[in-house]
Symmetry: C2
Subunit: 340 residues, 2 copies
DNA sequence: GACTGGCACTCATTACAGTCGAGTGCCAGG
DNA sequence: CCTGGCACTCGACTGTAATGAGTGCCAGTC
């Protein structure tokens, strides 16, 4: 049960070496590359214990040891210090993100930056609509029975949606509708709008009623239901690094999962605060991702998260480095968004 | 030189069998599976000629033959009839596309549909801005020195961009700006706007001048420069079908190319009309895609293309089927957009 | 009691030889 | 011009042996 300090040191060394070389690590190589101060034989005994406890395993007899998911877990929880970023990395982050002109721009730059720095697949969620407030609503007539509804959120997100009206509507009615929805909704959090929208319909004058009813449906559908959460993706090519060893030979399940926005949102979008989460292999609830690890965090101005971001890679990843990078990027993005 | 009819039939049979089985096809198997009416020996002679002419090759002595890129080219140009879609496929297309509520929605549904039907990677370009006209421009004040510029095109595309003004601007100036840009620009094709924007600056009253200058810069940047072309992608997981045989073992270059919007636009976005283009392996100008084939076409109401769409897969693909599907989907999308 | 050196053992990997068979090229004959 | 026949090629597969990295265990040492 109790693992003494040396056994933990051995585990740490195994993880580090395996991550670096991608090859099972043996007792001899271990004592050579790390200053453990004991002989290979002793290390072997420690390894036997670690294996019994389920932290490492042998791919086959007469091969070195490889960390298990459980071993990685212990490693991240107790054995690794977060690596400070190199000045070069800091500079890269700043250089990459200044000059972003737009929320879209920020998100795209961020996701590419993250993929590049971690050399893994990066995922960035747009600031969640549910946690944004309405800054402005615009109604643009497309034809007499069609409006384009454009919502601008305080986070810079802009969502649009076509509204098919039940009957033709003259221009001055559109003006009235526009004024009304803005009066009632601007400034409120999107998660709190449903009752307001309801009230809007009930209080509106008779001649506005039908149009307002349709409009309210679209409003609720588009803005409140989680449906319109968005994500950006980059770095899928990084999945092919490390030959076909990672992901047990097939990228298929990973690629499938990455394409499902819903899945990805569940994975990185549930962060309520800016704490970092690490999911290792098996711990992942999504079957397709059982061979992968995910490092994610929330980002936002202050401690409350506007959205999530993270990276996905093989369980054999540089956790300290990745965690540090993900955190740093999230912090920068948070600051950037706070300026708006 | 001259390939007689039977030699062409042999080539066709080789392509069909190889596409179906993914294995080099020999003379004996060929005569068994196709009614060629001659003996294997004769087929072998024909094969020798076809090989000499560069249409097929042997992976190694004592293996069957495999089509070359040149062989596929001949096949698509002269040997294949476009397969009519099955009723099931037609139904799938309709079912998939009705109920689309929005341009975004149409594009996303289309790209997924295309990936699913062809079982390959699908790419859909949003209707090109350059070929759209301005339907409406909206200016929303974010702060005294910041405006959100929202442009709605007649194709349903909505683009937004933040404008940082050089100095604070009162609300009535914003109203004036809004009226002016709409008066001058609504209805004109985006590719023709540059001189109009220029005129806008020159003709505007002194108190509007500085704001209008900045605004015009953003307008030109966002709307006219090709930069804001967009694409949607789906079906990357299909790249992993056919083991690692296709794409000579590494998906990396393909995935890299797929992530570069610029590259993809060049590939499928150059269609000026709704004719179908087929690029086979080598013919591709993008080095990363030398191992892949691309079937693309323009879509739009009528013969002029609003944008391009297509699929990417291994050179060993079912060309007749893929071509038919791509065309059919493009036609449906064109009709759908014409309704708006 | 903890560590170490030594040793026998396991087993993936590599190399090599041999067999098998699909598929070819060529040729003589119809 | 087509066909059947035949020798040939060469990859795929099988079996055997040698190699060596790495282990587990044990007896001895501090």
């Amino acid at each position: 049960m109790g693992l003494d300090d040396r056994k933990l040191a051995v585990l740490r060394a195994i993880v580090e070496d395996y991550v670096a070389t991608q090859e099972p690590v043996g007792s001899k190589a271990l004592v050579e590359r790390h200053q453990l101060g004991v002989s290979p034989a002793t290390v072997r005994n420690d390894m036997a214990v670690l294996e019994e406890e389920g932290y490492i395993r042998q791919p086959h007899t007469s091969a070195g040891r490889v960390p298990t998911d459980r071993g990685y877990r212990l490693f991240v929880d107790r054995l690794s210090r977060v690596k400070p970023l190199s000045p070069a990395e800091r500079r890269a982050i700043e250089r990459f993100l200044v000059g972003a002109v737009d929320l879209d721009d920020v998100v795209h730059r961020t996701v590419r930056l993250l993929a590049q720095l971690t050399r893994q697949v990066a995922v960035v969620q747009y600031p969640s609509l549910a946690r944004s407030s309405v800054r402005h609503l615009e109604l643009v007539p497309i034809s007499t029975t069609r409006l384009m509804l454009v919502m601008i959120a305080d986070t810079g997100r802009v969502e649009q949606r076509l509204v098919e009206l039940p009957a033709p509507v003259p221009a001055d009615v559109v003006t009235d509708l526009r004024r009304l929805v803005n009066e009632k909704l601007v400034g409120s959090r999107l998660s709190e709008t449903p009752p307001l929208v309801q009230a809007l319909v009930e209080e509106s004058a008779a001649h506005l009623r039908p149009a307002m009813t349709t409009l309210s449906t679209v409003l609720l559908e588009t803005l409140v239901e989680r449906h319109e959460e968005r994500i950006a993706l980059a770095g899928t090519a990084n999945l092919t690094r490390g030959g076909l060893l990672d992901f047990q030979g097939s990228l298929r399940p990973i690629l499938e999962a990455l394409e499902e926005e819903v899945v990805m949102l569940k994975l990185i979008g549930e962060a309520e605060s800016t704490t970092t989460r690490v999911l290792i292999g098996d711990e992942n609830e999504i079957d397709n991702l059982r061979a992968a690890s995910v490092v994610s965090t929330g980002y936002g101005p202050g401690a409350a998260a506007l959205g999530g971001l993270g990276v996905l890679g093989p369980t054999r990843m540089d956790y300290p480095g990745t965690i540090a990078t993900v955190r740093a990027v999230a912090r920068y993005v948070g600051e950037l968004l706070a300026q708006n």
